[in-house]
Symmetry: C2
Subunit: 194 residues, 2 copies
DNA sequence: TTGGTTGTTGATGGATCAGTCCAGAATGAA
DNA sequence: TTCATTCTGGACTGATCCATCAACAACCAA
């Protein structure tokens, strides 16, 4: 055929994701993106369509990666409840830079979900993915007798997702690791029976 | 002296607040603001300095109003725990439009707290205001025997604030009132002793 | 009424925005 | 080597961004 692209599509999406994650959608210029991606203007437009399409692709990638990480962490724990604890405590254990960067999923919801139907759609599917993951691990915890059997895994799963998002907002607001641990600790008491 | 302004400063800040609340900072143009405020360009610059100053003033106003509302609601309940319950359930009881609009405080943190020190500063003072309000009511609840005396009011207060923020993010992500009630209900179990 | 001051208005500034065009370079197949 | 195809990079577009300027209008004190 003809001349092949000089860049790795996956790699440049990753770099674009980092910029959008850091700065948000509106505050990111195409110039910012091109510099970070290390490609030319036309290459970006040819490959991704426009800034919005690139954002959607980056967001999709973010969700896939962080969703997979959540599932992995929930299964890697030495017990279901410990795994949940570790997921919640993980935010508090991040570096200050990581806590400040926050969560691209949360940012996309807050900035764009109201005006961009595709972002809203991604938000919903992301919610379902995370809720389901939490639901599975809570059910597992019930099966193992780690939490009371009268616990409603659906409700608790929703609660845990909301807690993670609350933690991320608090972290961005400058909460100390101690404050974040407090929040996680109290949230965890919702599991211990009742 | 000289010619007085033709508009009410308080009123135009209120209108600007509504626009920033709805669209965020970056996505709001000065044109949007002027149209909503019903004043001329120069009047805006003379009165508020620039777009950023106007935003900061609008945010400050939002925080003062919503902080006062929180304190009021917490004191108006028929009992401390009921008051907390009502505050959490209030998000689920909002209209779809209100839920979609979200919380300007959360939006400001997510969009701007990292790059604007003054927003970060407002975020911190807002956090303290809300945490303190929650802390007081939890202490009151302990005093009345509504929650176990071994509950740490500081930690629970932090948790409750995080829960409200989690609820607001979930609401913006399109969660149903039922899902929001689930989250609030589970969060409330953290109060019931332990 | 007049003078000094301040508010309002419309025109306009340069900067930057997202996105397009085009000429030239690089590629692989024939 | 030749040719069709595709990628690349710089110049460029019109729109929009935030902000300023200058001329005019409105006000109050004297």
């Amino acid at each position: 055929m003809a001349r092949p692209k000089e860049f790795d599509r996956d790699e440049v999406v990753k770099r674009a994701m980092a910029v959008f994650w850091e700065k948000g959608y509106e505050a990111t210029s195409t110039e910012d993106l091109l510099r970070a991606m290390g490609i030319g203007r036309q290459s970006m437009y040819d490959t991704f369509g426009d800034k919005r399409r690139l954002y959607l692709e980056a967001l999709q990638r973010y969700q896939a990666e962080s969703g997979a990480q959540l599932i992995e962490r929930l299964q890697a724990g030495e017990s279901p409840v410990r795994a949940i604890e570790e997921v919640l405590m993980a935010v508090a254990a991040e570096t200050p830079a990581e806590r400040a960067r926050g969560c691209m999923y949360v940012s996309s919801i807050v900035e764009l979900a109201q005006k961009d139907p595709e972002v809203a759609s991604l938000a919903k599917s992301g919610t379902i993915l995370c809720e389901t993951a939490f639901e599975r691990i809570v059910r597992e915890a019930k099966r193992k007798g780690e939490v009371d059997r009268c616990v409603d895994e659906r409700k608790v799963a929703r609660f845990l997702l909301a807690t993670v998002q609350g933690l991320r907002v608090m972290a961005k607001a400058g909460a100390t690791p101690e404050a974040l641990r407090d929040i996680a600790a109290v949230a965890l008491t919702s599991l211990k029976s009742r």
